[in-house]
């Protein structure tokens, strides 16, 4: 196990390094110096801002020196200052957004797993029944539905037509004056639609994956053995089969993280939720390069961390994996 974790840590550090190279390469996509472009687009740019950017990226030096300088600052979590009028350090702007996005994603993951796992298991156990067919239809439609469109429709239905749920932000304007219980409901009612929309896409994918995993396991010899020795079907399915079918699901959790963090861009923009995704879109429109770069690096870093945690969990629940180590 220790060897396994060490190797994972080594690979991830190298991958984090590769991510910084990628992020650094992206900065240089901008035609000409980023500063020049910045000047053209934003007439109000002060010489001070220009100096900040020049210092941050060392734009007058050779490429490898620039990268080294940037990397050194990155290690000290110095992502420079935002171009926006407040001129706050980028890390500070991002840090205050992380809890919102992470808790939203956590709620989405819980909802996805609590719904998709039973759905997939029942569909597999009752293969070729009406329930299975309905689930398959749901999965195909779920894959094809643009989440932002579904969000709009639900906003029109529940927000505009029925007036049951608020359609933007995290809190009502009169939040401060509400009783604690009412405050809690207010927050919850703002979160229902975003969490549902965020979970929707993953739901279809995971329930299909769960069904496949369950069908695979049911075919195994040890299941036939369990059936042959006369165990009740319930025990065979929910004790012997389900436990094994759940194993690969852990990996899927890791793989779905970039999708979730990336997906928060759409959900947070549609519902005006002040998280990392909304910050990303706002910064792109404002051409606030330091913030955009910081978000890319931190988003990728968080995902890498999540992936590796999933790998370690997988190693704990399934000892076979530590020996063979996935290579695909």
């Amino acid at each position: 196990m220790i060897a396994y974790v060490t190797r994972l840590a080594l690979v991830s550090s190298l991958q984090m390094l590769a991510i910084t190279v990628l992020a650094f390469a992206v900065i240089h996509l901008a035609p000409g110096e980023p500063i020049v472009l910045q000047q053209e687009l934003q007439a109000t740019q002060s010489p001070q801002q220009k100096q900040t950017l020049r210092e941050l990226y060392g734009l007058d030096k050779p490429l490898h020196v620039q990268y080294w300088t940037w990397l050194n600052r990155l290690v000290r979590v110095d992502l420079g200052r935002s171009f926006s009028p407040d001129g706050l350090p980028v890390w500070e702007k991002i840090r205050e957004r992380i809890p919102v996005t992470l808790s939203l994603n956590l709620a989405e993951v819980c909802l996805i797993y609590l719904t998709a796992v039973p759905l997939g298991v029942f569909a597999a156990v009752r293969r070729h029944t009406l329930f299975d067919r309905l689930t398959t239809v749901f999965v195909f439609i779920g894959f094809a539905t643009p989440d932002f469109w579904l969000a709009l429709l639900l906003m029109i239905l529940f927000g505009v037509q029925l007036g049951w749920l608020p359609i933007s932000g995290l809190r009502s304007l009169n939040w401060e004056y509400l009783a604690p219980a009412a405050q809690l409901w207010d927050l919850a009612s703002h979160l229902i639609l975003p969490i549902f929309i965020g979970a929707f896409g993953g739901l279809a994918g995971l329930s299909r994956f769960m069904r496949g995993s369950m069908l695979e396991v049911i075919r195994q010899d040890y299941i036939r053995t369990a059936q042959a020795k006369g165990l009740p079907e319930r025990v065979v399915v929910y004790k012997h089969a389900l436990r094994n079918a759940l194993l690969p699901i852990v990996t899927i959790l890791g793989l779905s993280l970039p999708g979730l963090i990336g997906g928060s861009v759409i959900v947070e923009s549609v519902f005006a939720i002040p998280g990392m995704g909304q910050l990303a879109v706002q910064s792109v429109f404002a051409r606030d390069y330091p913030v955009v770069m910081g978000l890319l690096t931190i988003g990728a870093g968080l995902t890498l961390l999540g992936n590796r945690l999933a790998d370690v969990c997988y190693g704990i629940v399934d000892p076979r994996i530590r020996v063979t180590r996935r290579s695909d």
Binding site: L29, A30, P34, F140, L153, G262, L296, G299
Partner: protein
């Protein structure tokens, strides 16, 4: 023993496909959408860019079947032209993704060993780690979001699936007898990779290309919806949806119809792609 694995005959594929009504329906809609996109100028009742301030935000009626938008443009006409943009972006982006994914996957799978580890762990896994939407947004922030930039960016960030697929295929195909004998006859690496092995791995590539179009259409619509895709006044389904969001309290038709177009497109490409995969895969034949 030295011959390549038998290719799947078109007639056999068609026989299989005929048994799958959903895949057939998907294929029909795929063709229909392509025809609509090509014939958009003939089908559109109005000029998609013609605005009329006296006819803003009209609900669907006989004159404007899908209503009008906030500056009085006909939504149906804009959606017909939008089909051209969406499908063009989908096809070009997927073409780019397939090209990159093929080269990367074939090289990694053929050489194996250290090259494989470096490519898969160092490039493919890293690309899979970066939240794709953040990467798309960053690149678009650096470049101006023209239609060509959108195509390129969606393609360049979407090739990893094809690479993994081909790598796995290559790892098994390169050990087969027909490859070994071709090598014994003196075929070079490049010839072996692209002339002998790759043609035998094209089936999964074709399927993932079809499924990829669906994904690219969704991504483009998402970017346009945020205002970071193909820029107005060029009509795209995502642009119209963005207008729908701006007028969410008064004009439901601006939100409903473009989304249905996206849903139909993605659903039919997915059904057709998955049906084709089942039909082409002899292992599922029994």
């Amino acid at each position: 023993m030295g011959t390549p694995p038998p290719s799947v005959g078109l007639a056999a594929v068609w026989r299989q496909l005929k048994k799958n009504p959903l895949a057939l329906a998907g294929g029909a809609v795929v063709l229909l959408l392509a025809a609509v996109a090509v014939a958009a100028p003939l089908l559109a009742p109005y000029d998609p860019g013609a605005y009329d301030v006296k006819r803003i935000l009209l609900p669907p009626s006989r004159e404007h079947l899908l209503g009008t938008d906030q500056i009085g443009r006909d939504v149906l006409s804009r959606m017909l032209y939008g089909a051209r943009v969406s499908l063009a972006v989908g096809f070009v982006a997927v073409g780019i993704a397939i090209l990159i994914g093929t080269v990367v996957g074939v090289v990694a799978g053929y050489y194996g060993g250290a090259a494989d580890t470096l490519i898969m762990l160092g490039v493919v896994d890293v690309m899979l780690t970066v939240p794709r939407f953040f990467l798309l947004l960053t690149v678009i922030a650096m470049l101006q979001p023209s239609i060509f930039v959108i195509m390129a960016v969606i393609g360049v960030t979407g090739w990893m699936g094809v690479a993994r697929l081909l790598r796995a295929e290559l790892l098994s195909l390169k050990e087969r007898d027909f490859v070994v004998s071709a090598r014994a006859l003196g075929a070079g690496d490049l010839r072996l990779m692209f002339r002998h092995i790759l043609p035998n791995a094209l089936v999964p590539v074709l399927v993932s290309a079809i499924l990829g179009v669906a994904g690219a259409v969704l991504t483009e619509a998402g970017l346009s919806f945020l205002g970071l895709g193909v820029q107005p006044p060029t009509p795209t389904w995502g642009n119209i949806l963005a207008d729908g969001k701006a007028n969410i309290e008064i004009a439901w038709w601006l939100s409903l119809y473009p989304g249905m177009a996206i849903l139909t497109t993605v659903l039919s490409y997915n059904l057709f792609g998955e049906g084709l995969r089942d039909a082409l895969d002899p292992r599922l034949r029994q």
